[in-house]
Symmetry: C2
């Protein structure tokens, strides 16, 4: 019998496309193969989203996580004491931002307490959570902060593109400053550990260079020679199958063609620019370097198309599969 980790699926901002992609996901036939789902969000909103999308799934409200344990086939929906405001499709409502954050906070706490195996987060709107009085740039920073894990890494996974970024939301100048032997070795190690958990044994990891052509032998930039190459060598000596630094503009094709299992990218856009271009719909955000499993859709709230029944669930389903793998599920 398969191990199915219990995963929290957070609804995100109720006025965006989160409820719709969640509704479609709950009707996805693969759902129960990958997890025992618990929705963190509002039951009535979810039912409306089901109608909007023309999909069905048996739901039940719970007011304590223990109630998710019974043998009922209905999917538990848990508002964690925060029902949220009335739905106002496409509108920026601070109360919706507040509820979205509170569901995530509760899911993180339940994950830290071992009551769930991980969480998969629906989209929130940054302006909306700012308006609600919070200061996190996004889910990644929020979850890392709640876990007291400053050394988190932002990852973007889509099909053969498994990218672990040395840094995330910071200026490019800062990102370059963060390319140190210690931090880069930590990034490579986190990539190795995560890919191993996902079943790659051992994972083959490529490390990108920083400069054009990976510095062309020092002709334009010495970071490859002074920091990146020695760090790769040090990681190899510890048994990690990694190599590089690779020219940043040719390594992605090698990843696509399966010559590596993952790429360590040295700054946010080195990974996000190509992956968002070629794999917009299947992208999954993964946070590594935190003590819990957390994945996310790779799209925003899309207020402009919210509650029209047209949003697609592919990214959410991929995020569930990924969380299940990282949580040690058989899927």
């Amino acid at each position: 019998m398969q191990r199915r980790p219990r995963l929290a699926l957070t609804m995100g901002d109720i006025n965006g496309i989160g409820p719709e992609v969640l509704a479609r996901t709950l009707s996805w036939e693969g759902l129960r193969e990958h997890c025992d789902p618990v929705v963190y969000g509002n039951l009535e909103v979810l039912r409306k989203a089901q109608q909007c999308c023309g999909v069905e799934a048996d739901l039940k409200a719970i007011d304590d996580l223990d109630q998710a344990d019974d043998a009922s086939p209905a999917i538990p929906v848990y508002d964690a004491g925060t029902p949220g405001p009335v739905c106002a499709p496409g509108q920026l409502d601070p109360a919706a931002g507040d509820a979205a954050i509170k569901w995530v906070v509760r899911a993180v706490e339940d994950a830290k307490a071992g009551r769930i195996a991980g969480l998969v987060t629906g989209p929130i709107n940054k302006a909306c959570i700012y308006a609600a009085g919070y200061e996190w740039i996004g889910h990644t920073e929020l979850v890392a902060d709640l876990c007291d894990a400053p050394r988190y890494r932002m990852c973007l996974f889509a099909g053969p593109y498994r990218l672990i970024h040395n840094t995330g939301h910071m200026s490019l100048v800062d990102a370059i400053r963060h390319i140190t032997p210690e931090r880069l070795a930590e990034t490579i190690g986190l990539a190795h550990d995560a890919l191993t958990r996902m079943g790659f044994a051992p994972p083959r990891i490529a490390v990108a260079g920083l400069n054009p052509h990976a510095g062309e032998g020092g002709a334009f930039g010495r970071e490859e020679i002074e920091v990146i190459a020695p760090t790769i060598e040090a990681c190899r000596s510890q048994g990690i199958d990694c190599d590089g630094p690779h020219p940043p503009d040719t390594i992605l094709a090698k990843l696509r063609d399966g010559r590596y299992d993952a790429l360590v990218a040295l700054y946010h856009d080195q990974g996000h620019i190509p992956v968002k271009l070629v794999a917009m719909d299947e992208g999954v955000n993964v946070t590594l370097g935190i003590p819990i499993v957390r994945t996310s859709v790779d799209h925003g709230t899309a207020f402009d198309i919210a509650w029209q029944g047209v949003a697609r669930e592919h990214s959410f389903c991929s995020a569930i599969r990924m969380a299940s793998q990282l949580a040690g599920g058989d899927s």
Copy 2:
């Protein structure tokens, strides 16, 4: 009757795939619609490459460019006093690097003198030209140097992806230092002028940001606020249809979808990473900011597959079309 600019097609390194892609290109039925070609290279090598690829085209040796003017349908092949060494497929031969450079130098001189309308360059091998005693990083720097044009810009064009880079072969740290109002305005102006010559009237130009999410309102990086946005505004006030700064990881999809005609990228890899991933075969390198027309294939000498008859000519044909457009041909 169409205007067909006379274009120099340089053979590149004779031991790489240059002669083969050139041989195939000379049999391309669209060739004469776009240009009157003059090959700068070795006639015997080209004939061998035709045999290797199983293609035909009538060729004739000339020893002065004036001889290209007669009405003969044969394609003139001009060795410019440098026949080059014996062919040694796949080998790194400094004499081949030397010949490749000399053909380009002569073509640049002929372009500067107005005897040809532009040049389309076949691939050279950097290690090989270093071994021959030259110090240029590549064609772009060579041509800019010969034209005494330090303010050249490296561009990469492939289908809807028309990218003009603010800087090319320099370290990322240096590239960031080069994002100044003066230089960026010049880049935007060069993009506007080139796209106008290519028939976009007026061209719609997007300008990328430097930082993730274009700095997220100053939260991570202030270059967008202090330099990039004001420069865009200044260019707009001069009548250029440009906007931004755009988040670097979403603007490429808008370019693909035709919402812009060109993108100003702020560093080499911001453009090269996505375009090389999605459009490897059709890429054309274009040098702007020089007084002559020069385009190039977007691939190297590929010594590993040279003289096997398998190299493809798509990039060379695209480079000819582009040079013809930039030279004011009707094509």
